[in-house]
Symmetry: C2
Subunit: 200 residues, 2 copies
Amino acid sequence: MGIAERKGRDRAEREARIVAAAREIAEREGWDAVTVRRLADEIEYSQPVLYSHFENRDAIVAAVAAEGFKDITTALQKAASRSSEPRNAVKNVALAYLDFALRRPALYEAMFVLPTNLRFAKAETRPELRAAFEALAAVVALFCADVAVAAATETFWATLHGLAELERSGRIRPSARAERIALVVAALAGCRNGPRPSDE
Amino acid sequence: MGIAERKGRDRAEREARIVAAAREIAEREGWDAVTVRRLADEIEYSQPVLYSHFENRDAIVAAVAAEGFKDITTALQKAASRSSEPRNAVKNVALAYLDFALRRPALYEAMFVLPTNLRFAKAETRPELRAAFEALAAVVALFCADVAVAAATETFWATLHGLAELERSGRIRPSARAERIALVVAALAGCRNGPRPSDE
DNA sequence: GAACAATATCTAGCGTCGCTAGATTATGAG
DNA sequence: CTCATAATCTAGCGACGCTAGATATTGTTC
């Protein structure tokens, strides 16, 4: 009975096309241009079909955001892995984070700004989000005592997020980005409540 | 010719009522509930009147945001002034910032999240925004060399903004707020590239 | 292969939004 | 008192998210 499976595959493929179209339009023209009618046009189906895949428009945005979390996780992991020395790892991760946020503003917006309604409660934290957090925590753990890693990672994350948002909205000087990152690296390096007894 | 002045006063008062209504509705029911029709109802005029005061809905949101910047500036200044010791000043300012963002989420949203279109270019930075920045810079200056104050303030601000946003959207643990702020204070205190040769 | 049940999809439209053109009313000048 | 001007309103356009009910497509059964 491969027939049901083929249907399932077709459905999944169509769903992926919806998400891909949403992402492309958002990155090219902003999220306001991502309307259900437009997406329906793009995939060459009528509007109600979209509602058989997603509960509402916000759920489509959330699906794009989930992709974004996967992307940023790999970007952060790659940045961390190509750095031998801890301070350099922090710097490269920070740079990678800002690069991601500023080069894909619409995607980043979907991840952090837009679907304020679809909140993640603490228990049911989405795995994609958790993975991104862990990628940051891995770098922070190079400097902080295990007991302080969670709060330090949250703070590090908040700083990166804030830098991304304020730079994205033109409220801090793009020219001073390197200087700011240097400050962040220095701050984290100073967090020696119990460092890993390794190099440096 | 006091007649034109009376008209001007009436107009200004009506404009203030629009902004006040927008702020109240937003704080009570969220920005989605702030529609032009609803505001027109609230001030007991028809819709087009609103467009003689503001270019569009976003401009109304921006007016509320401007009020918010004034409010946060005084809140930060007050927090700084009631602290004698520098480290305490930083801590109190950080607490005041987060308190503001989390107790008036809609207002904070208007200031930093919503009107992404109405950007502030670097030159024409709105004075209200500049004043808020200066209030932060005053505290940062207690620790950093003059030459580094700007970047340090931007980074400090970014951290506070990130903490506010991530906590507001339920992505970091509210219970660890004090711990995170302690880390921020420690980091800033470590920024001794050329401290003020004063107390501590 | 024809008839039917189930599923998939579409057409058409509801209510609401931001915004505006053109009609209408109030206002102050001569 | 007349009349131009300014202030305000009524009515409606186009687009939005979303959905009920009609229609077409599909797979099953005899």
